[in-house]
Amino acid sequence: MIGVNQVSQMWLGLKQALNLLFSLDQEVYKIIMLSLSVSLTATFISSIIGAPLGIFIGIKNFPFKRILVRLLYTMMSIPPVIAGLVVFLIISRKGPFGYLGLVYTPAAMIIAQSCLITPIIMGIVYNGTKERGSLIKALGKTLGASSGQAMLLLIRELRTNILSAVVTGYGRAVSEVGAVMIVGGNIKGHTRVMTTTIAMLQSMGDYSTAIAIGIVLLGISFLINSILYHFQQGA
């Protein structure tokens, strides 16, 4: 009896998801847009930092590299709540950067997500570079590429890997709830994103709307993965 009830919640959610999407509900669109823009910005920042560093660690040898790599792998699986908490403590009113007034703003959410996914992007790019990086570098040299041209060549050759790192990072950012809840605060119209909405609706017992937003989130992930798949086929 209970099971039937839960399944009917999911059906209701599916119907409601379609309604939500096509009813042009301003609040829902605002939530979706904020989710996308916060996570896209965080992914952009993390890619700018993470991808070159990942390549660098992949092709260069230096002391303590193995410890650094182990640290990097650990950071890749850092729980979002911990990342959120650390960022919160730094930017909260009594924290070292409290004077910037960042807490409970989209900027704070971007910072927290960037902290979370920079190691992920870095780690995936490092893995791809580790395998082929030195080969590509050697090839560049034998064909007479300058160091700048060799760097471009590396990026071009590792593009599928970098792209999948970026998409993985984005997927992690957009689906993450712990960190944005802590630093963003789920304030309606300011910092409320899809995942915090789902958590909130669940706590309010509104399961069907929670599922509806979840379906929208899933749809977006599907779209992103389709694009990635398309690119991987092409390269």
Binding site: I2, N186, M204, G205, D206
Partner: protein, 295 residues
């Protein structure tokens, strides 16, 4: 041939995944029943009872104080699911809990009227307080005194930062009622609808130096870590009545009707009521909940 064999292998793999997925999906749905099953087998020892309640009773420590004493008396082990009043009622409606301890009187009465619960009893009340930054930029404490309506009016007119639970909880409903009384539609840049629990909202108010409506117990339990003061208290509009309801046992055969009855009788008894009055006196120097069962 080979490709066929491979297809067969893939199909088997898919089938295994589907089975795992189905098992994985159905498990949570039967879990409460499973708990109830354990109850029945352990009937001699008193069994166990699932209580859905609001975060305030759990966070304040009241249940941690009361439930061991209840177990001593009856042998019944109470499993607490602490959620918002809205979700607590929903859990009752779905037959996922045996007894409810919540604080939204009219919603509770509707719940019983709809046949989801047997009967509702007053248990105790606590009160809401308006909290805000100790520097009180709007001088609410001075200007409003005990009058919560005046305080809300002033926050609205001066566009002071106000943080709302925004989660359909009892506290949120009480807050909305206060806005309605002064004919204000709370919305705009000054009004932050947070959609989170009381503790988080208090924490956020402290952080952004805003005003908020809180239950006294949760505020007192966090007071030491905050730069927030109580600015308005004691207005009769701020009293918050808690009720207890046994979930209608016709929901499913897992519901522990006897346990629910025992809990209701115990908490309404003189002993239960005295324990409620006692709670908090040592730590805060005042009772956090005032018992008012009319037996």
């Amino acid at each position: 041939m080979k490709s066929w064999r491979r297809k067969g292998r893939v199909l088997t793999l898919v089938a295994v995944f589907v089975v795992i997925a189905v098992i994985g999906c159905t498990k949570p749905a039967v879990a409460p029943g499973h708990l109830a099953e354990q109850e029945k087998s352990g009937k001699e020892a008193g069994g166990s009872l699932i209580m859905a309640t609001t975060t305030s009773t759990e966070n304040s420590g009241l249940l941690t104080f009361l439930l061991p004493k209840f177990k001593e008396d009856t042998g019944i082990d109470v499993k607490v699911v602490a959620v918002g009043t809205g979700q607590a009622l929903k859990l009752g409606e779905d037959g996922e809990a045996d007894v409810l301890l919540v604080h939204a009187k009219s919603a509770e009465e509707d719940f019983v009227k709809a046949g989801h619960g047997l009967e509702r009893f007053d248990v105790m009340y606590n009160d809401f307080v308006l909290i805000g930054p100790e520097e009180d930029p709007l001088q609410i404490k001075e200007l409003a005194g005990r009058d919560i309506a005046a305080a809300f009016q002033r926050i609205y007119e001066e566009k002071g930062k106000f943080l709302s639970r925004g989660d359909d909880s009892g506290t949120h409903k009480a807050e909305l009622k206060l806005w309605k009384e002064i004919n204000v539609e709370p919305a705009g840049d000054w009004y932050f609808s947070v959609g989170r629990g009381m503790g988080e909202v208090i924490q956020m108010s402290d952080e952004v130096r805003g005003y908020s409506l809180s239950d006294r117990a949760t505020y007192l339990s966090m007071r030491d870590k905050l730069d927030l003061d109580i600015l308005v208290e004691g207005d009769s509009k701020l009293f918050n009545q808690y009720g207890v309801i046994a979930v209608n046992p016709n929901k499913n055969d897992k519901i522990n009707k006897e346990g629910a009855q025992a809990f209701i009788e115990w908490i309404l008894s003189e002993k239960g009521q005295n324990l409620i009055a006692e709670f908090g006196k040592v730590q805060y120097g005042q009772s956090l909940f005032i018992p008012n069962a009319n037996k």
